[in-house]
């Protein structure tokens, strides 16, 4: 893979280039005391000089004493916010005296006529993996999701490898980081020391190389590449959490009646935070919403969560009524059933569910508890 380096200041030019080419550039921004992803109108909006401290049920931003652009790990949001939006209109129907008017594809009102292409700046390797996992979900079956396809087509992805491990991170356990291997257009590693502030950029695609030509960059030396490599190696050694995935699928399948589920359920609020922050969770609900006159009905797709009581409702009641059943469903799906459904684990080790759980339930701890105390 061709590797180059460019100065920190050139990052702005990279963003400008993408904007000029018609991309909607999404990057990390500080808002509401968290680093979230939104459209970058100006590179000054980038969350420079911040780091995050994360542990069970805690996320705090702290000032760094340097100007690192990407000196944090992941915030509460992931890229599914754009590829699989929380609220999405699927179509609108109209009732007239003539009957029911279902839309034809020309009058499709669910989308702008030509949606902008996204450029994602700052995709963590775990999140890159999450995108490929959602690609399998939405594009890998016999029926694909046209909304996801539309939004995913033409993405320009700039991953940023992690220079530090988050307090709840375990990408090393899941084989999804801290360095991106493939699936990006450009992959950056930020190098910041007393003398230098630059990015080591790996080119993943022809398009990536083409875009990079607009930035002042030089070929990376072996030393540059080694520096970048060491940064990632250091990150591996400081992972916040660890998950033993060996035979995990069968362990979870075989322990559906383990007493641990009850214990954890007693803590779980079924608040669904974990499913909202998880970059791979894809459950959705379909709602038909009418206007007051009853003349127009919109079909909306909205994020849903297997933690809600009526998620599994059929006549007579919900199949999974207890918190125990719902927590068990989520964790078993994520770490076990997903493998049978889509060929990989559903978990990328980003740690968000641990950080954003209000009571601090830790999926790695739950898996360990069941593994170590199997009957």
């Amino acid at each position: 893979m061709k590797t180059f380096i460019f100065e920190r200041s050139e990052l702005d030019r990279l963003v400008e280039t993408l904007k000029r080419r018609g991309y909607k550039v999404i990057g990390p921004i500080l808002r509401d005391s968290a680093i979230i992803y939104d459209e970058l109108t100006d590179t000054n909006e980038l969350s420079v000089g911040w780091t995050d401290e994360q542990t069970n049920a805690a996320y705090r931003l702290k000032n760094r004493n340097d100007a690192a652009v990407f000196g944090w790990t992941v915030g509460p949001q992931s890229w599914k916010k754009f590829l699989f939006p929380p609220i999405q209109k699927i179509f609108a129907t109209h009732k007239s005296t003539k009957g029911l008017d279902l839309p034809n594809s020309k009058k499709q009102t669910s989308e702008e006529p030509t949606p902008a292409k996204y450029a994602f700046l700052g995709v963590r390797p775990c999140d890159l993996n999450a995108i490929s996992i959602q690609d399998k979900v939405f594009l890998g079956g016999s029926i694909i999701d046209p909304v996801y396809e539309r939004k995913r087509t033409g993405n320009f992805i700039i991953t940023v490898n992690c220079g530090q491990a988050g307090g709840t991170c375990f990408c090393a356990s899941m084989g999804t980081g801290p360095k991106a291997i493939a699936g990006f257009d450009l992959s950056l590693t930020e190098v910041l020391n007393d003398k230098h502030h630059y990015f080591v950029a790996e080119v993943g695609t022809e398009l990536g190389g083409d875009v990079l030509k607009n930035v002042k960059c030089i070929k990376a030396t072996d030393e540059n590449i080694a520096t970048a490599h060491e940064i990632c190696e250091k990150t591996v050694k400081h992972m916040g959490r660890f998950l033993d995935t060996s035979n995990l699928k069968n362990i979870l399948y075989q322990n559906s009646e383990h007493s641990r589920w009850e214990r954890t359920a007693a803590r779980c609020l079924t608040c669904a935070n974990c499913t909202m922050v998880c970059p791979t969770c894809f459950c959705a609900t379909i709602e038909d919403v009418t206007d007051l006159a009853g003349k127009q009905a919109d079909r909306m797709r909205k994020w849903d969560s297997c933690f809600t009581l009526d998620f599994s409702y059929i006549h007579g009641g919900s199949v999974r009524a207890s918190a125990k059943a719902r927590y068990r469903q989520w964790m078993t799906h994520k770490l076990a059933s997903w493998v049978d459904q889509f060929g990989t684990s559903g978990c990328v080790g980003c740690g968000r569910c641990i950080t954003w759980c209000p009571v601090g339930i830790d999926i790695t701890e739950e898996a360990r508890a069941i593994r170590e105390s199997q009957p």
Partner: protein
């Protein structure tokens, strides 16, 4: 209403948006029992017939109210008319119950795995239906009866709550009048005067005339009824790989993308609803799976 040229000239690219329903017009609404009704539908626009396999279901959309999965209960050999039989128990079905000839419903489908009727060629076929479960089995019954010579003994065991809940009475009588079908009906309780059977449908299994070593069984009804029926069939000697059940779960998209219908690692909308009993029997006895 139906002949409006605007409606008839619908040319929607349904392959591109799988969440878009196709309009169908109600030809007839028939009330079968106090809480169960049947709608007969005709496709509008460029679609002339709706082909499906027995056991499959559609997502049925009532404008502004919602969309729910309902099994197809009609004859696969008559694809010009789409038939659905359902109980009026929720918002959507109750709204459907009030609809009349000429009203429009949206249909997406057909979805799901069918009853493996071809697998039963040369074998005895046992249908065991509980309550509304007779409706998703009826298309398979039609198909077997239409090709009667390809099968061995054909038996229908049908249990429901009371005599006034018996569905498709006339059809059952017609089938019973044939010499090549065995129809047994039982109810949970009845008023004196009922000359049929009273008791659970599993009681009928031991006396039914079929050879368990050469039988395929199709079972449909409340989950608990299917569980006990499958156990009883197996006790009588039917291979668990020859017993099929039809599962039901909450569905929103019916195309394997929304996650609602998961049953273990299966998606009931695309890995089911028809499952081989042997594959799911361990999950059936687990609570809240």
């Amino acid at each position: 209403m139906a002949t409006d040229p605007e409606l008839l000239s619908l040319k929607v690219d349904y392959k591109r948006n799988p969440m878009l329903p196709w309009p169908f017009q109600i030809r007839r609404v028939k009330h079968e029992t106090e809480d169960t009704f049947t709608v007969e539908l005709q496709p509008l626009g460029a679609l002339e017939e709706f082909a499906f396999q027995p056991g499959q279901f559609n997502m049925v959309y009532v404008f502004g109210v919602g969309e729910i999965p309902i099994s197809i209960s009609g004859d696969p050999a008559k694809p010009r008319i789409l038939v659905h039989t359902t109980r009026a128990v929720g918002t959507v079905t109750k709204a459907m119950d009030k609809m009349r000839r000429g009203d429009i419903l949206g249909i997406r489908g057909p979805y799901g795995t069918p009853w493996p009727v071809e697998q039963a060629h040369g074998l005895d076929v046992v249908f065991v239906a509980g309550g509304i479960g007779l409706a998703p089995l009826r298309p398979a019954l039609y198909e077997v009866v239409a090709h009667r010579e390809q099968y061995g003994k054909v038996v229908l065991l049908y249990g429901t709550r009371t005599p006034s809940d018996v569905l498709f009475r006339q059809e059952l009588e017609n089938w019973r009048a044939r010499f090549d079908l065995e129809i047994y009906v039982t109810v949970d309780r009845a008023m004196s005067g009922w000359r049929g059977n009273v008791g659970v449908v599993t009681n009928l299994i031991s006396r039914a005339p079929f050879d368990p070593r050469n039988t395929i069984a199709f079972v449909c009804g409340p989950e608990i009824m299917m569980r006990f029926t499958a156990m009883e069939l197996h006790k009588r000697g039917v291979d668990i790989e020859h017993i099929f059940v039809s599962m039901e779960r909450n569905m929103k998209c019916a195309i394997g993308l929304c996650g609602h219908c998961q049953f273990g690692s299966y998606f009931v909308c695309k890995d089911g609803p028809v499952f081989q009993y042997g594959k799911i029997k361990d999950m059936l006895v687990k609570w809240e799976i």
